[in-house]
């Protein structure tokens, strides 16, 4: 029976949990509770099996091979590309470039588009909630080009403060680079609004979607982003596979990044012509089996439904925030409004260092992350040296949150705080 659009289905967590073999174990004599999904997600058995199946039936190097296995491998590789194009709202497959991950995708842009388009005195705009991946390449590029790096500041609850946006994004701005969702604060940024500001001033917009694509339905075209990037491993797929979407017109004008096989058309000792997009950007043998298995991860997510995933995470985040805020000494970073945030929950305890929290929770079988989360400038803005971060995904449920909260209560007692 077809579902009505406005009727969302509760996702069946118990059955989903069963799909993830790694979750079925005890860590330090406790049930494993995995809450480090913003760093990387676990893999369902269908994705694990897809690797094995591909190696057993279809493995060969892709492109230019004139044998059956090369054709199978190439088909699988290109099928995933079409699948990705569809998954992010229906772009052209040739607008999808494979990279090793989000970090490499952003470096690719800095070294190609950035190298050609950023001149002395130009402005690059980022935000104060960027991961080092979408920060360091732009700091270095702006230094190299004598360009000006500007920042969109944050409100007190960790959202973008757009009050003075017209002074920040100006006619000198060539690039606005920002995350869709913060890996520390969980804040979801209003991408359409930002691209609107940027395009009116003639700037190009790059969106780091590493934390958003795994958790909600994304329509890259509607977002207005010129470049949009994310990583497979944060959405049930393998490591070493990243996606860079770029508008065809921009990609065609860009120079290649890595030089070598596959990215060329004709090679002479004194003259080389480039292959067409996307191959122009894909020198060398890529992570073929990873790409093939990513297709299975996408199908798995589609079967659950991205809107259902978003709803599940909204419900669970709301539940978690309510419970965490009842704990003594605990403070949550980022917006509390559930419409404006995702399931990345950073918190601090006024008495206990995040590394002690992490070690304590690990002893109870609970995996969270502690540290600066590759966002040192943001930590300075928040005036914290580090935070603890619990981040949710489809296999987490209220029991996980209950156990996290009980462990945090016991922890305060353990360290002598009540």
């Amino acid at each position: 029976m077809r579902q009505e659009v406005n009727k969302q289905q509760k996702i069946d967590i118990l059955n989903i949990k069963k799909d993830f073999p790694i979750l079925n174990q005890r860590i330090n004599n406790h049930r494993l509770i995995y809450l480090d999904n913003a760093a990387s997600t676990q893999k369902p058995h269908v994705v694990i099996d897809a690797h094995k199946h591909f190696f057993e039936t279809s493995y060969a190097n892709i492109h230019r091979g004139l044998h059956t296995l090369a054709e199978r491998a190439t088909n699988a590789y290109e099928n995933t590309r079409s699948h990705v194009a569809k998954f992010i709202g229906g772009v052209k497959p040739e607008e999808i470039i494979y990279t090793h991950g989000t970090t490499e995708a952003i470096n690719l842009l800095a070294y190609t588009w950035g190298e050609e388009n950023i001149k002395e005195g130009d402005e690059i705009v980022i935000t104060e909630m960027e991961h080092h991946a979408n920060l360091v390449p732009w700091v270095i590029l702006s230094q190299r080009k004598k360009a000006i790096l500007k920042r969109i500041p944050l409100t007190s609850d960790g959202q973008l403060n757009l009050e003075n946006i017209n002074d920040i994004i100006t006619s000198k701005t060539k690039l606005v680079a920002l995350c869709h969702m913060s890996n520390v604060l969980g804040s979801i940024n209003p991408i359409e609004e930002i691209t609107d500001y940027a395009h009116r001033k003639g700037a190009v917009v790059l969106v780091d979607g590493a934390q958003s694509v795994p958790h909600m339905k994304i329509n890259v075209k509607e977002s207005g982003a010129d470049f949009y990037t994310f990583s497979a491993h944060k959405m049930l797929g393998p490591t070493g596979v990243g996606i860079l979407f770029g508008r065809e017109e921009l990609l065609n004008k860009m120079a290649p990044f890595n030089m070598g096989g596959e990215m060329i058309s004709e090679v002479y000792y004194d003259k080389i012509t480039w292959n067409e997009i996307p191959h122009k950007f894909e020198a060398g043998t890529p992570n073929i089996v990873g790409v093939a298995a990513f297709d299975t991860a996408l199908t798995y997510l589609e079967e659950i439904g991205m809107d259902n995933i978003r709803q599940h995470e909204k419900d669970l985040t709301s539940y978690a925030i309510d419970k965490l805020l009842q704990l003594n000494g605990l403070e949550i970073q980022g917006p509390l409004d559930i419409e404006k945030r995702g399931g990345v929950i950073s918190f601090t305890d006024k008495d206990i260092h995040p590394h002690d929290i992490s070690t304590y929770l690990d002893a109870k079988g609970i995996a969270i992350r502690a540290g600066h989360h590759c966002a040192q400038p943001l930590m300075r803005t928040l005036d914290k040296v580090a935070t603890s971060r619990a981040s949710l995904y489809i296999y987490n449920d209220e029991t996980d949150i209950d156990e996290l909260c009980s462990a945090l209560i016991e922890m305060r007692r353990y360290f002598g705080h009540d």
Binding site: N28, I352, D356, Y360, G371, Y414, F415, G416
Partner: protein
Amino acid sequence: MTDPLDEIYREIILDHYRAPRGKKPLEKFDVSSNGHNPSCGDDIDLHLLMDNGTVKDINVNCKGCAISVASGSMLAEYIKGKPLNEVKKIADVVKKMLKGEDFDLSEELADMELGDIDSLKGVRQFPVRIKCALLAWMTLIEGLKNYEDGKRAQNPTTTEKNGE
């Protein structure tokens, strides 16, 4: 199965963490040294008042995790009143112990005993936390080196590797 928490946070460590020794600031001091681990934010200020080759008084001001605070507190307790050569010896032994280097305790320390410091051994099983336990001791070693060379430290001491 034993609780891994009891390995790292032994009762002695928790005791030092809850009530750190050497907190009282010194009006005068001869040795001053700062240690800082940027990744965890652990920060330690160490001041020693020397008297005739002996540590007359010590102030340790450590902000950070339980391990670094406890380690700093044990340092304060242990070296107060000790002659400089013994202080250097114990710092070296703790460094070797935490880094897992081979050493013969009886040979290195002669008739000295590790006392509470022995409990830091458990941290070795938590490789990412070794730097926390080491910070106070490396800061002490650096401070004494500068003191003996008559120099001022240029940068804080760190026990983190780059990029952590």
